[in-house]
């Protein structure tokens, strides 16, 4: 077990190192260097440009630049943002909480609602309920998140004035407002972006849960539970559901990229002050250090998520460790 765990951790570390190298290569694939774009727009003198090149280490040979970037990554130093002139890590740290709040809320709703609906579909397979739930979730999956966000904001926020359309907090809120008022205010702002993310991502959870339940339901122990005279709801909730939960665990690896991608669009549309809108803004200003920093952080979270699911799997099911 210890050996398996160590190997799996080593593998994750290698993946992270390769991610950092790949990101560097992607940045350098671009013609010219990051500053030549900026200088064209701001019309720097050649002297100022040379000075900036030196400051960002762009006058060094490529291999040296890669070494500097990797050494920085290991030390937790991702360089300075070109646009803001501040360390990328501190910019990310400021935005991380908002993104985790939005992503975490969306994930929680996705998980609870998706598992429940998927179980309902499996129990009532082949009925209109099953078919309509499949159709609705697939339609959500096919809908572009930015468009859905715009439509929801226009209807719910602007026309019906039920919820705020943008931001995370009401700037006009009294400064002496209590924690309850503040919390409710954030929840109001959270509702529409979180709903958008859930609608576009819930299909995969429902699908996996439905399939997992369908595999479990014909097994002998379920038949035995029924034969014991247990009510069908108890059989489903106490017996089938628990074992079907297991394969769904592996979905974490699937959601995280979907959520990261969705958050770029959803955060931009709703002006949510998180990492996604930070990255989208960095594209506009060609702020490469910032873009690479956010990409590295998101990828690390994905690698870490994969590692944690594998470990959870290994702890819960010994068969996996020997496979």
């Amino acid at each position: 077990m210890t050996r398996w765990l160590l190997l799996r951790c080593l593998q994750a570390a290698v993946t992270l190192l390769l991610v950092a190298i790949l990101l560097f290569c992607l940045m350098r694939l671009a013609p010219g260097d990051p500053l030549s774009r900026v200088s064209g727009e701001q019309q720097l003198t050649p002297g100022a440009l040379a000075h900036l090149r030196e400051q960002y280490g762009l006058d060094q040979p490529i291999a040296r630049q890669l070494a500097i970037w990797l050494a920085g990554v290991v030390r937790g130093d991702l360089g300075a943002s070109i646009e803001y002139g501040r360390p990328v890590t501190s910019l990310i740290a400021e935005r991380l909480r908002a993104s985790l709040l939005l992503g975490g809320t969306a994930l929680l709703i996705n998980f609870t609602l998706g598992l429940w609906l998927g179980a309902v579909q499996a129990v009532r397979r082949g009925t209109p309920v099953d078919r309509w739930l499949t159709a609705a979730s697939l339609a959500g999956y096919a809908t572009p998140s930015f468009w859905l966000g715009l439509v929801l904001a226009a209807l719910v926020a602007v026309r019906w004035r039920l919820l705020p359309a943008a931001g995370m907090q009401n700037p006009l809120l009294a400064s002496d407002a209590g924690p309850w008022v503040r919390g409710l205010d954030i929840a109001d702002h959270l509702a529409l972006p979180a709903a958008t993310l859930v609608i576009v991502s819930i299909a995969s959870t429902m699908r996996y849960q439905r399939r997992a339940m369908l595999e479990v339901l014909p097994l002998p122990y379920i038949v035995a539970a029924r034969a014991k005279g247990l009510a069908e709801s108890v059989v489903v909730r106490r017996h089938a559901w628990r074992n079907a939960l297991f394969p769904v665990l592996s979905l974490a690896g699937l959601w995280l990229p979907i959520l990261a991608t969705g958050s770029v669009f959803v955060e931009s549309v709703f002006a949510w002050p998180g990492l996604g809108s930070l990255a989208a803004g960095a594209v506009g200003t060609r702020d490469y250090p910032l873009l690479m920093g956010t990409a590295l952080l998101v990828s690390s979270l994905i690698v870490l998520g994969g590692l944690l699911t594998d470990v959870a799997y290994g702890v819960l099911d010994p068969r996996i460790r020997w496979a």
Binding site: Q11, V14, T15, L16, L18, V19, I21, L22, L23, L26, M27, L29, A30, P31, G32, R37, L138, A139, Y141, A142, T143, P144, S145, F146, W147, L148, L150, V151, A154, V158, R159, P257, A260, T261, V264, F265, S268, A279, A280, A282, V283, G284, R286, Y288, L291, M292, T294, A295, V298, S299, I302, V303, G306
Partner: protein, 283 residues
């Protein structure tokens, strides 16, 4: 197991499923309108009066209304369909080719080649594709269409290569492969003549589902101004342009959004139906 009649059997298998039938009909309609529609529609590039017919509601000579620049929305949606479908189709061709090649080589040769390639694929899969695209596209002011297709294609093969590798690992043990090897077939011959045709089924499913992903990604990139460049129509770009008029002239952004959702839904349903047809054929 050969290739004879594979397309025919698959289409029949898809048609047997209600969702597959709906997907085929919808996609057929979308492709037909995209291919044959433009000559019958007003040409958005030749507007006689730029402001006189701005933001007209649907009906009144313009079936889906006009946009703030007096352009016929239906023409633009159909034009966007041409661009979106062409971009997605070509990008998938690129990514499936690379993915199949890498998967065949890694799976068949095994050993160090496999280990190195798959570690790289692991790392590439850990970076969300959108972030790779943002890094690659940020340098361009106006990206040429060909470059956009190539970039979308070369960033989409990682999952496909894993899928093909898995199929190859399974097939490698089968008698028809060991037989070909015993008869003296070279590595390339075994890979491309014997293994490759047998991965076509799963590859087709992956390619179909991939088309849906690319359409959504391309729309998102165009919405961010990084994808298809105006004045060429694109669904994502139309939604971005009409953002401010969402309440006063909703038709300008509702229809392109519905076009994306309908196309992606049909493509994904077709992918599912194909996968169902393949399962049935095997059992």
């Amino acid at each position: 197991m050969g290739l004879t009649g594979l397309p025919g059997t698959l289409i029949a298998g898809v048609w047997r499923q209600p969702s597959g039938r709906a997907a085929l009909v919808t996609l057929g309609l979308i492709v037909a309108v995209a291919l044959a529609g433009p000559p019958f529609l007003p040409n958005p590039a030749a507007q006689p009066d730029v402001l006189g017919q701005a933001s007209l509601p649907p009906g009144s000579g313009h079936l889906l209304g006009t946009d703030p620049l007096s352009r016929d929305v239906l023409s633009r949606v159909v034009g966007g369909a041409r661009v979106s479908l062409a971009v997605a189709g070509l990008a998938i061709l690129v990514s499936v080719t690379i993915g199949a090649g890498v998967g065949l080589v890694a799976g068949y040769l095994g050993g160090a080649v496999d280990a190195v390639l798959m570690r790289l694929v692991d790392a590439a899969l850990a970076i969300p594709r959108l972030f790779i695209l943002l890094l690659l596209l940020a340098v361009w002011d106006h990206i040429p269409l060909g470059a956009l297709i190539l970039i979308l294609g070369t960033t989409g093969w990682f999952g496909t290569s894993r899928l093909v590798r898995g199929e190859v690992l399974r097939l490698k043990q089968e008698a028809f492969v060991t037989g070909a090897e015993a008869l003296g077939a070279g590595r390339a011959r075994v890979m491309f003549r014997h293994l490759f045709p047998n991965t076509l089924g799963p590859l087709l499913v992956a390619a179909t589902l991939g088309v849906g992903d690319v359409i959504l990604l391309e729309a998102g990139l165009s919405f961010l101004g990084l994808g298809i460049q105006p004045p060429r129509p694109s669904w994502g770009g139309m939604i971005f342009d009409a953002k401010a008029e969402l309440l006063t002239a909703p038709w300008t952004s509702i229809f392109p959004g519905l076009a994306i959702a309908a196309t992606v839904l049909a493509v994904n349903l077709l992918g599912d139906a194909l996968s169902g047809a393949l399962d049935q054929r095997q059992s």
